[in-house]
């Protein structure tokens, strides 16, 4: 078992960047305008978690929400997912307002949230069990996704038999099996060790190249945000505002060496300044 667990690394794939859409993108795929969230607390002042956040998201793009822990970026993602209501503002994804959970969104959480009683394959197919398979071919897609993340051969394993990184790869497959139009990720690699984390970042890049998924990623890692994103929205501490909106023009495919490019470090500095870490 231990040997298999070690072997279960993703295949060495050449990281290929997501296909860039037209230079001047036509109407935004996702539109966030003046999103505001406050929590009423009995006997205390109202807590403003998110104060007027606006940005646009274009098809095929990955936007990172970067900010310190507890700054409200996860709350923002949950609003975008329709899991919690916003206090005011507009959230529009592909032309329709998001006010409740959407069946055609895919979510990855910080914890893999796998069901211990389901095998790897059955965990991946859970969204299909819930929603059906209108387009057909779910079984094939699940198999392809598991191959893509280097887990073919593990279909009938239980989550408890997998390492943390492998569990999170299963969670990624589960988030994509129903071909969501938007992928929402809440610190998906936050619970992993540094090496596994870097491996998963390349894997995510590869998945985006293959599926063309549009995605929002919540992270508190500056380098992760810049490495993976087309745009980085830097959130200020509570209440969350966008302190800086950074376009990452680094060409795809990005490789681990990209992290040492001067442009990369410049962007890291810029994000650091926006976060108030560096001057």
């Amino acid at each position: 078992m231990t040997d298999r667990a070690v072997q279960g690394r993703p295949p060495q794939v050449k990281p290929v960047g997501p296909t860039r859409s037209a230079v001047s993108p036509s109407p935004a795929f996702g539109h966030f305008e003046n999103v505001h969230k406050s929590f009423k607390r009995p006997g205390q002042a109202t807590l403003v978690a998110i104060d007027s956040v606006s940005f646009d998201l274009y098809t095929g793009q990955l936007i990172s929400l970067l900010g310190p822990s507890g700054c409200g970026k996860t709350t923002f993602l949950r609003i975008a997912a329709g899991l919690i209501p916003k206090t005011s503002g507009t959230v529009e994804i592909s032309g329709s307002k998001v006010e409740r959970p959407q069946p055609d969104f895919g979510m990855v959480f910080q914890q893999s949230n796998l069901m211990p009683w389901r095998t790897v394959l059955k965990n991946v197919l859970f969204p299909i069990e819930i929603q059906g398979d209108p387009n057909g071919g779910a079984a094939q897609r699940a198999a392809d996704l598991l191959t893509l993340v280097g887990l073919s051969g593990f279909e009938h394993y239980y989550p408890s038999q997998l390492s943390g990184g492998m569990q999170q790869r299963v969670a990624l497959c589960r988030a994509l099996v129903h071909q969501p139009k938007l992928l929402l990720m809440d610190e998906p690699f936050g619970a992993l060790d540094e090496l596994t984390r870097m491996e998963m970042q390349d894997l995510l890049m590869d998945i985006r190249a293959k599926t063309g998924a549009t995605a929002i990623l919540v992270t508190h890692s500056i380098s992760e945000a810049i490495y993976l994103s087309d745009k980085v929205a830097v959130f200020s501490s509570r209440p969350a505002r966008i302190a800086d909106f950074i376009s990452v023009e680094l060409p795809y495919p990005r490789r681990p060496e990209t992290r040492y490019a001067p442009e990369f470090t410049d962007l890291e500095h810029r994000a650091g300044r926006a976060l108030g870490i560096t001057r």
């Binding site: 231990t2 069946p103 949230n113 069901m115 819930i130 394993y157 239980y158 408890s160 038999q161 997998l162």
Partner: protein, 254 residues
Amino acid sequence: MIPQSLGRSAYPLLGLVVILALWQIYTSVTGISPLVLPSPMEIASVSVKRYDLLLQQTWPTLVETILGFGLALLLGIPLAVFVANSRLFNLVLYPILVATQSIPKVAIAPIILVWFGLGISSKLALAFLVAFFPIVVDTATGLQATPPGLLELARALCASPRQVFFKVQMPAALPFIFAGSKVAITLAVIGAVIGEFVGSVTGLGNLVLAANAQLDGPLAWAALVWLSALGIVLFAAVALVERLMMPWERAGQH
């Protein structure tokens, strides 16, 4: 130092052998009357020699226990679902349930006997009463302990309440349900025996009383041994069903 080569079950067996040996020595040295304390050898020989009688008396106790336990599952799990999912049920029923649990079952046995008569139904009712509580409490706890992350996942996928219940809550509660069931099945044996003690003409519990009245110590002890064996076998059966229904619990860690 504990040698690794010995199986886990070897240790309690070793302990048992030592206790039985000391017991055997004590009875032969003191020459104590078998009515007060028969020797292990005597009990063993009666257990084998009166095999027919003991087996015949085991059936009624077994049936009472299994029916009482089955009824407790049948009524306890749905009640737990209500308690876990409805605030009203939880507020109204749960305290009453806990309060009734403090009534000693031995004390209500005579009343149960008046209601249900000398036949099997009074024993079944007592076995049910003692088995019911752990099943309800553990199932309700399990249903309420569903990992919030799994509920959020189901919600994000727009799962219906029915899907959430059957595909998330119930499987997540299974370990709790089995924990309750293992306690309940051993209690159900006790419930059935209490019923037999209070008023009955058959069963192992009745045999213990009858043998005692006839000053047949070894037979009373043999019936006791069979009763314990019955409890162990039933417990093992529930544990086996648990293993079969929850294969992921057995899957080795990586």
